[in-house]
């Protein structure tokens, strides 16, 4: 019968695109904002 595809950790009803938060084909959940590398202003690279 295959797999219940709603259990793969993707929010299939999301009005937003899924790809921009897609973490990995092997991850059970989407990315969190702190997982996403972002081109922040260089001044923010305080460390």
């Amino acid at each position: 019968p295959g797999i219940d595809l709603t259990t793969l950790g993707l929010n299939l009803n999301s009005p937003e695109n899924l790809y921009s938060m897609f973490q990995s084909p092997f991850a059970e959940s989407a990315c969190r904002p702190q997982d996403i590398d972002y081109h922040v202003p260089a001044e923010y690279l305080t460390n």
Binding site: S29, R32, Q34, V40, T46
Partner: protein, 148 residues
Amino acid sequence: PLGPIQLTKDQHYQLSNLEAAYHHLPHPSDSERMRHFLPRNPCPTPTYYPSATFPHADTVELYQRCSTETLFFIFYYMEGTKAQYLAAKALKKQSWRFHTKYMMWFQRHEEPKQITEEYEQGTYIYFDYEKWGQKKKEGFTFEYRYLE
């Protein structure tokens, strides 16, 4: 209805390679820049801890509902990520402004005593990331060339 087909030698080779690779799978961190201050350290937590990301986790509105200390934590400890970017946006919406020389966030405590083309001067609250706390600074000159 078609029944199984005999795997070729190549396919057996592929399968054994897959099985070997299965024992050293990629980590999520392999595709992310190094997080010097908050590296991913997968550790088992009780199943009743929330694990999946909640919806709208990446909206400024959600970050605006966080306390300023939380936003400062995100800003300084999640450098170079979307979280830092969202925290900065939320801080700005609460009239904090980033001083690029001191690398600290400032907020007017009252109307500045003096405002010119180059700077404004007065009493400010700022967040000191070294002492990790908010402080008041009187007679501070905020030069606009350091305003992000």
